[in-house]
């Protein structure tokens, strides 16, 4: 823990949204209703791949109770030849994802939507819509999609001049890998596969939308960015942003997937056509079938080392599933896989592969875990072959400040080495492990590291004094991980007042300045920065007011522990003025007190993590259980330690699911076969041990409190750490995920 002892920062204060959440009062997406509201339902494609020759909605429209029907004709068309970007999202794909246009590209792809007086009527009307499909052969897996004779999804996609399902290629290069490998004493090259996994948020997508007679639109929905909701809805409906107000609801998890929208533009068009407020709520089945999982992958990683363990060259080839439309997170594996290490020669190549599954969406450190899985498993094998301690191998090669990364950045202060050392010196790593505790049970220990870029970007804040001398802080970021609690701590600390006197709110798009997505591990970093600057302005105003009252120079006033005081005996003798007293006099002494700051924040240096895990394998059933897990990470400064720990523990648990049990299963007809939490096996509480976070607090010099983003790095190492632990237990390596019981037993029985 950090040596600094703050009064509020670093303390486990009660979170502002806690009571509402545990008592069920918190208003999530589906909780909003309006008078006169009607219900929207989506008709989805029963085919994984089909040309839509025509849609006849007349019977649905004639059904009593139906108020509006929407198809792709009602959504703005972004022609295929011109890219229009909103952040990293291409509107050509977004408009086709929310409503199929020329083709249905996956089972569950929306083809039309109905609004009616009840969900039942809307559902019945969907069944009356006649879609004329020309069913096409479909392709699901990467290896099939890249075959020369594969069904081609899009005529406009070309690879090496030929029609293909490879939509994009990304190449990152450093030095000369051939020359590098030529110097190597040992080269290991292995291929790996991972399955698509869903973000698994508990709250399904939902929204309520009103389109008033004056053309003003209001949207209530949960998302990872109300400004994204506004901008994307505006682009997809053609309604100007100034006419749209997006009100953020509490969010029941997003993990990246709520950085895009599915329902809002459709609901807006239904509301516009019907003149009635429209509510839409996805079922869990729809969430699994038609909202983004992250990419499955096929990758090959080759690493060359000298006898002493120094890495001389590394090469990675990563094929990622995009789903029905282009846009997989190539940057994750291409940029992150080798970045913890100081390697002169790197070639990292990614391919974006379309196939007939739902379009992927961001998931916590998008793409980085599947890349680290390959790299960190190969490193484990190298350490084994060299007879070197696994952490020593990493320490020998840690990236250095000033080092160049394959993705182009040059490192500033980095703290990877510290995470490796923290694990190396931790009692978990040094404790002996009984590898064969009983008949039929073996145990093993594994380690792995991971890297994530982190991000800064646009944020806005407004800090206002209430007339009774308390404080409201408004930011533009949905709170997915406890950011309001951290912001309350920061504001209380700066103002020197009790935490309970601060109320932290999330503004809607009309009440606070533009704020970019809650994502990229950026929100605590960026919002603490704008809140700090806003609060400092407020303190400046408070000092000025005191100076005015005392009739002394503002420079001669200090702010200390919630009060203005004269800076020293020379400034004069005045009893201190508290925040409450100054607030009471605010209006007569010059007007309300408050300040806002809007910034494009910078200085979010990358995050590194190193993990250690013990597993136990039941060799007769092939079941792997995680016994102990320790995760070390440089968190900069833990503004609120509980929520930093929560991020680390949550990331690890999602990684455990990815490694051991989660996967999308498609049947021969190209339909998702396990669209429920019963058969899509996310870990439950009893599947995971207490995950011990080691929070290294090495302040980020570019941030007022020293914050470093923490949300994503923790999901990067677990896949490889667990694979390496299973190898340690069984002496067998696994090259594909999930390492589910049937697969594990098959490998054991192959002995």
């Amino acid at each position: 823990m950090n040596a600094i002892d703050n009064k509020w920062i670093g303390k486990r204060t009660i979170r502002p949204d806690g009571a509402d959440k545990v008592t069920g009062r918190a208003g999530y997406s589906a909780d909003h209703s309006m008078p006169g509201m009607i219900w929207g339902r989506v008709l989805r494609s029963p085919h994984p791949h089909a040309v839509i020759r025509g849609i006849d909605t007349s019977k649905a429209e004639a059904l009593p109770g139906v108020k509006a029907v929407v198809t792709a004709k009602d959504i703005v068309d972004f022609p295929l030849d011109k890219s229009v970007m909103l952040g990293i999202q291409d509107m050509r794909w977004m408009c086709r994802n929310i409503m199929a246009r020329e083709k249905a590209l996956f089972h569950g792809h929306p083809v039309a939507a109905v609004a009616a007086i009840s969900e039942e009527v809307a559902e019945a009307a969907c069944k009356l819509i006649e879609v004329d499909y020309e069913v096409l052969p479909h392709v699901i897996e990467i290896e099939d999609a890249i075959k020369p004779d594969a069904p081609i999804l899009h005529d406009f996609v070309r690879h090496e001049g030929k029609p293909s399902n490879i939509a994009t290629t990304m190449v990152n290069k450093l030095g000369d890998v051939d020359a590098g490998f030529a110097q190597a004493d040992l080269i290991i090259e292995r291929s790996f596969k991972t399955r698509p996994v869903h973000q698994g948020y508990i709250e399904p997508h939902a929204c309520t939308v009103s389109h008033a007679a004056d053309g003003k639109v209001t949207i209530w929905s949960s998302s990872q960015g109300q400004f994204m909701v506004r901008a994307m809805t505006s682009l997809l409906t053609g309604i100007p942003q100034s006419n749209i107000r997006a009100i953020p609801a509490e969010i029941g998890g997003g993990f990246g997937a709520k950085t895009i929208i599915y329902l809002e533009p459709v609901a807006v068009m239904l509301a516009k056509k019907s003149g009635r407020p429209v509510k839409m709520v996805m079922s869990r089945d729809e969430v699994f079938r038609a909202t983004g999982p992250t990419s499955g992958s096929m990758s090959t990683v080759k690493i060359g080392v000298k006898k002493d363990g120094s890495i001389v060259a590394a090469q990675g080839t990563f094929y990622l599933q995009a789903g029905g439309l282009p846009g997989s997170p190539l940057r994750g594996p291409v940029g992150c896989s080798f970045s913890p290490y100081n390697i002169e020669n790197v070639l990292s190549v990614g391919y974006d592969v379309v196939s007939n599954r739902s379009k992927v969406a961001a998931y916590r450190a998008p793409g980085a875990p599947l890349g680290a899985y390959a790299t960190e498993c190969v490193l484990d094998e190298i350490a084994e072959k060299l007879g070197m301690d696994k952490l020593e191998l990493r320490l020998k090669n840690t990236a250095k400040p000033g080092g160049k990364t394959v993705y182009g950045a040059t490192f500033g202060q980095i703290t990877f080495k510290e995470t490796v050392e923290a694990i190396k010196n931790h009692p978990h790593y040094t404790a002996p492990l009984d590898k064969n505790p009983s008949k039929g049970v073996v145990r093993g220990r594994g380690v792995a590291s991971g890297f994530w870029f982190n991000a800064g970007g646009e944020s806005s804040a407004q800090v206002n004094l209430t007339e009774d001398g308390n404080v409201t802080v408004t930011t533009g970021h949905p709170d997915v991980g406890g950011s309001r609690a951290s912001i309350a701590n920061v504001t209380a600390e700066l103002l020197g007042i009790d935490h309970s006197r601060i109320s932290v709110l999330i503004g809607d798009t009309s009440s606070i300045g533009f704020s970019n997505l809650t994502g990229g591990s950026r929100v605590t970093f960026a919002s603490a920065m704008v809140v700090t600057q806003s609060t400092e302005k407020v303190i400046g105003q408070l000092k000025e007011r005191a100076a005015k009252i005392w009739k002394i120079d503002p420079e001669a006033v200090i702010w200390d522990n919630g009060e203005a005081r004269p800076a020293g005996p020379n400034a004069g003798q005045f009893p201190p003025l508290t925040l409450k007293e100054l607030a009471a006099k605010a209006n007569e002494m010059g007007g309300p007190i408050g300040a806002g700051v809007q910034l494009n924040t910078t200085g979010a240096d990358p995050g590194f993590a190193t993990h250690c895990v013990d597993v136990e394998v039941d060799v007769d059933l092939g079941i792997v259980r995680v016994l102990r897990y320790t995760a070390a990470q440089d968190v900069g400064r833990a503004l609120h330690p509980s929520y930093v720990e929560g991020q680390i523990q949550g990331g690890v648990v999602q990684g455990i699911g990815w490694a051991l049990s989660e996967e999308y299963l498609y049947n021969a007809k190209g339909q998702l076969d396990n669209a429920s939490f019963l058969d899509y096996r996310m870990p439950v509480c009893s599947d995971v041990p207490m995950i011990e976070p080691i929070m290294l607090e090495i302040p980020n010099p570019k941030h007022p409190q020293g914050v470093r983003g923490v949300g994503e790095a923790p999901i990067v190492p677990p896949l490889a750490a667990i694979a390496n632990a299973i190898h340690d237990a069984l002496g067998k390596r696994f090259y594909s995920l999930p390492m589910s019981p049937p697969k594990v037993l098959e490998v054991i029985d192959a002995r």
Binding site: R625, R681, V684, D687, L745
Partner: protein, 290 residues
């Protein structure tokens, strides 16, 4: 889900007549943990729901003078766990019922619902089969009984005739030296569906198996009684040879499918492993070691 009639008759006779009167448009409601899920996902659209939890016979657990047990079809897992005697006599049956779902689900889920839902993976059924339970059925033509293993007809199907209701389970009196156990394989630790489940009931005398029954779940279209496995155990001291023979019989009885929950190969292997483990636990219980 609009316009559903809800009835909660206080007697079985009234339930039977209401059920018959509805002519197939009604569904029986015990705990509802299967039925309500089916209604929500559109698989069931009953016009009438007949709640049987107000019928004393169907919610009671009684021990007869000879040591047998009556378990009403609608008794919840949690209520059965609170019975002072049942879990001592039938620890395997109780653990199977208590494995269903979670604490919340246990407050409602019943062994009757578990059996009537007709899932080959129903957890309580292999344990009931091993226990030699007999079910009582009531319908427009009166009452009848059958061994529990004769009840399922296939995935989601039972041998209940139209208008018949399952009333409850009769478990036989238990000789001294008896014990039972149920084990299931699930990839997670809870909130999952059995990939394979095995129930074993043994009576031991002087370290030798005097009587045995084996129930096998999720390995065929219905839960199975595996007489060959039982025969391999009877007369043995549960030595490796006997256990291997019984395990092989269990695997041989498997007629599983490859599906999202498990492969044929995996299920067949796991059936053998679970048989051995469950037999060991049942034997320990029979001999007062556990």
């Amino acid at each position: 889900m609009t316009d559903i009639r809800y009835l909660a008759p206080p007697t079985l006779d009234e339930a039977v007549s209401a059920f018959a009167a509805a002519q197939g448009a009604a569904r029986i409601l015990a705990g509802g943990t299967d039925l309500l899920v089916q209604m929500r996902n559109g698989m069931a659209r009953p016009g009438t729901i007949i709640d049987i939890k107000k019928i004393p016979e169907m919610t009671s657990v009684t021990e007869s003078a000879d040591g047998g047990f009556w378990v009403g079809a609608a008794v919840s897992g949690a209520a059965l766990a609170e019975h002072p005697r049942f879990g001592k006599v039938w620890p395997g049956v109780l653990e199977a019922i208590n494995l269903i779902g979670s604490t919340q689900v246990q407050g409602r889920a019943s062994p009757g619902g578990n059996l009537c839902h007709g899932s080959p993976a129903a957890d309580s059924v292999p344990a009931m089969v091993a226990a030699g339970a007999v079910v009582t059925i009531a319908g427009p033509n009166g009452r009848r009984t059958m061994p529990v293993e004769a009840f399922p007809a296939g995935p989601g199907r039972t041998n209940l005739a139209a208008g018949e209701i399952l009333v409850g389970f009769t478990l036989p009196a238990r000789p001294a030296g008896s014990g039972d156990a149920y084990l299931r394989m699930i990839p997670r630790t809870e909130m999952d569906i059995a990939v394979v489940g095995v129930g074993v009931s043994l009576t031991m005398a002087g370290g030798v198996v005097a009587a045995a029954r084996v129930g096998l779940g999720a390995a065929a279209p219905t839960v199975l009684l595996v007489p060959d496995a039982a025969r391999a155990l009877v007369g043995s001291k549960l030595d490796d040879a006997a256990l291997n023979a019984a395990a092989a019989a269990c695997s041989a009885a498997c007629k599983p499918i490859d599906d999202k929950r498990g492969t044929i190969v995996y299920r067949t292997k796991v059936a053998a492993v679970l048989l051995k483990r469950a037999a060991a636990i049942a034997a320990d219980r029979a001999q007062g070691k556990a």
